[in-house]
Symmetry: C2
Subunit: 386 residues, 2 copies
C-alpha cells in the first residue's frame, strides 16, 4: 500500500498534516470507552470554537460532507414544508434535490453559476412564501468558487420566522464562518477541505431554534442513520448507543482541530487570503482570469477559465503525471470551461502557489496558450512581498 | 493523542492489525486519482471474494454498518411496498424501524431475543403477504449472539418472487457468508467486526434482481447520500463524482481485506469456531452459560448470562480498569442480564480467550459469584488442545 505523494490542489481532499495521519494510526478503542468520551468532548469543544458558536449540538456526522447536508435538511423538513434554496452551482442544486426527496415544496432562488445569490432575491422569496420553513444557502460554492455573503441574510430569514441553513464545506477553517453572529440555525461542513483532515466526517452544528423544530416534528426523520433525535443522545450527556462511531476518523478530526486552534482562526484566514491573492495575481499574469464573480471570489477555491482551444483534461493530466499536482475539473455547465485550484488548509502554502504557477507556465505553451516563463511566478512573488 | 491499548472483546470495534493502522496513515490522494481508481478496483475484487459473490455492485458505503442497512432498504423499498422483517433483537428492530420510515408496510416475523427466526414463520408470512417486495433477516444478531440459518431461506423467498436482504455485520469474515449460494439479493456488513478494520464503512453487495428493482423504481430514493442509482456510477465504470470517498478508510479496508485473503476464508472461519468453543467451555466451567439458543450460537459474539445478583456494570468496569479489556453490555431487554464477549477478526485469539477467562475468574468472586481459580482457563485450554 504505497499511494503516491500528491500536491493536492483540487476541490478536496487537501493535504493532511503528518500529525493527523499519525493520529489515525493510534490504537482503536470502543465508542463507549470513557477515554473516547473525553475525545468526543474535546472534539465538540474545538468544533464550536471553529464554527464560532455556543451551540451545544455541534459534532461530526459519521459520513462525508454531503451526508451533513442531508442531515440538516431531513431533520428540519417534513412533507408539506416549504424550503427556499439558493442555486448557483452543484451544491445548491444538491440541496434542492434533497429538499424534494423530503417531500417538501422547493422554491429556488437562482443565479448564474459563478455569481452569488442576491440577498434581495432571498427577501423576495420570503415575502412570496410567508410560511417557508427554511432558507438554505451555500456559503462557499465549491463548484464555482463563488463566495456568498451571509452577514445580512440571517436577519432577513429570522424576521420571516424561518431557519437559515448554511453549507460551509469549503469555507470552515479557511475564511470567516460566524455561525452565531450570522444567525445561522444549522450548518454543515466537511473535514477534507480547509480543516485538512481526510474525508469521512461532516461537522455540523444546530442552534436552539433548529432543535426546537426538530423536537416538534410530527413525523419521524426519514433517515434513521441521520436522525438527530437519536444521535443527540449519543453525542449529548446520555451517551446512548446509536451507531458505532468512526473512531479513527474522529482521532484525525480532533488532531486537525488542534492544529487549527494552534494556528489561530484569524491567522489561518489571513494565510488563505494572502495565498489566494498571490495565486490570482500569478494567474492574471498568465492571462488566466478567475471565472467567479469579481468581489466574491473564495480564498479557498479558485475557479479558473480554461483558455479557448486549450485541452482541459490534457493539462490536468500533465499536471498530475509530470508534477504530481492534482487540480479539479469544472462541474456541470462549467465542465471543460474551468479548472478548480484549491488552496485549502495545509495545501494553502506559498510553495504550492509558486509551484502550480511554475507548472502551468511550463505546460501551457505545449497546449497552445503562450505565456512567458517566469511571469506568473514573479507576479505571485510580488503579491506575497506586499 | 495517546488512546490506551485496549483488548477489544466487545461487540465491535475489534482489534486492528498494525498493517491496517499503517495503511490509514499513508498519504491521502484524490478520489478521482487514477491510483485511487485501482485501489477501488482491488477493494471491490476482495469484497466479492469475502462475500462469496460475483455481484458487480459490491463496494463499501461511505458510512458505518447501520448506513449499509439503510442503503439496502431505502434503495429497494418504495412507499406502499410490503417488507417482511425478522425481529429477534436490536438489529432486526432497527430494520423494521427503517422499513416504516420508507413508507412501506411492515410485516414482523418475531422470535424471543436470543432465539432464531423460524424459517416456517417466514414461509407463512410470505404466503399471507403474496406481494411482499422483500424479506430482511439478520444473519448474526449482535445484540443476542443468535446465528440465523440462511441456507434454506433464499429459495423460499425467491419462489415467492421477493428479494432477500441479509445483515452480515457480525458474520462477514468470521463465519460462512455465501451470498450467491444462499440466493441473497442484497447484503450489508460493517468493517469493525470480523474484518478488523476501524469503524467507518459498510461493505454492501447487490445482485442482479436487486439492481433490476432499483432501476425500475417509480420514485427517487429518499436518501440522496445512499442513492445507489448515483453511487453505482462512481464505483462502476463511469467514475462519475457523487460524494468525496473516505480515502483513508478505504486504504484501511483494502489492507484488512488483504489480510483476510492471506489467511484464507476457511482458515479464518475455523479460527473463529475454535476460539468460540474454547471460550464457551471456559465460561461453562465458571457457571456462565451462553444466553443464546443452543445450536445457533455465533462464533463471533458470545452472549453470556450475568449470574443473579452480580453487578453487570461493576464487572465490566473492573475488566476495563484492571485488565484494559472491553466487553459489551446487554441491549434492550437484555440490559443488565447479559454480557457480550466478542471474538471477532484480530480479537479472536487463543490468548484473548485465556485472558478474559483469567480476568473473570479473578474478578467474579469479588462480585459474589464464587468460582475456583484456574477452572475456566483450564477448560478452555483443554478445548483448544482438541
Amino acid at each position: 500500500m504505497t499511494p503516491p505523494v500528491r500536491i493536492l490542489l483540487g476541490p478536496g481532499p487537501s493535504a493532511v498534516h503528518p500529525r493527523v495521519l499519525r493520529a489515525m494510526s493510534m490504537p482503536v478503542i470502543g465508542h463507549l470507552d470513557p477515554v473516547f468520551i473525553e475525545i468526543m468532548e474535546e472534539t465538540m469543544r474545538l468544533l464550536r470554537a471553529t464554527f464560532l458558536t455556543r451551540n451545544q449540538l455541534t459534532f461530526p456526522i459519521s459520513a462525508t460532507g454531503s451526508a451533513g447536508m442531508e442531515a440538516c435538511l431531513v431533520n428540519l423538513l417534513e412533507p408539506g414544508d416549504t424550503a427556499i434554496v439558493g442555486v448557483n452551482g452543484v451544491f445548491g442544486g444538491r440541496m434542492a434535490d434533497i429538499v424534494e426527496r423530503c417531500g417538501a415544496t422547493l422554491i429556488k432562488v437562482e443565479a448564474p453559476w459563478g455569481r452569488i445569490i442576491d440577498p434581495a432575491d432571498v427577501q423576495r422569496a420570503l415575502q412570496q412564501h410567508p410560511g417557508a420553513k427554511l432558507v438554505a444557502l451555500v456559503h462557499a460554492e465549491t463548484s464555482t468558487g463563488a463566495w456568498q455573503p451571509m452577514e445580512d441574510i440571517g436577519r432577513l430569514v429570522r424576521n420571516a420566522g424561518a431557519l437559515l441553513v448554511a453549507d460551509t464545506v469549503t469555507s470552515l477553517g479557511g475564511c470567516p464562518v460566524r455561525v452565531d453572529e450570522w444567525l445561522i440555525d444549522a450548518c454543515y461542513s466537511g473535514t477534507q477541505k480547509c480543516l485538512s483532515c481526510p474525508p469521512g466526517l461532516s461537522p455540523v452544528t444546530f442552534g436552539p431554534r433548529a432543535i426546537e423544530v426538530l423536537h416538534r416534528r410530527k413525523t419521524k426523520v426519514q433517515s434513521w442513520y441521520l436522525d438527530l433525535t437519536m444521535i443527540e443522545r449519543y453525542w449529548g450527556a446520555d451517551r446512548v448507543y446509536h451507531h458505532t462511531a468512526p473512531i479513527s476518523m474522529i482521532y484525525a478530526l480532533l488532531e486537525a482541530l488542534r492544529l487549527v486552534e494552534e494556528e489561530g482562526l484569524d491567522a489561518r484566514w489571513r494565510r488563505h487570503e494572502r495565498n489566494h491573492h498571490a495565486l490570482k495575481a500569478g494567474l492574471a499574469a498568465l492571462n488566466l482570469p478567475l471565472a467567479s464573480q469579481e468581489g466574491h471570489q473564495l480564498w479557498t477555491l479558485n475557479s479558473v477559465r480554461v483558455p479557448d482551444g486549450v485541452d482541459d483534461a490534457g493539462v490536468r493530466q500533465a499536471l498530475l503525471n509530470e508534477f504530481s499536482i492534482e487540480i479539479g475539473a469544472g462541474l456541470g455547465p462549467l465542465r471543460g470551461k474551468t479548472w478548480r485550484i484549491g488552496l485549502m488548509g495545509e495545501s494553502s502554502t506559498e510553495a504550492n502557489v509558486l509551484l502550480v504557477l511554475l507548472a502551468l507556465e511550463r505546460l501551457l505553451p505545449r497546449f497552445g496558450h503562450q505565456v512567458a516563463a517566469g511571469t506568473g511566478v514573479a507576479a505571485a512573488a510580488a503579491a506575497l512581498a506586499n
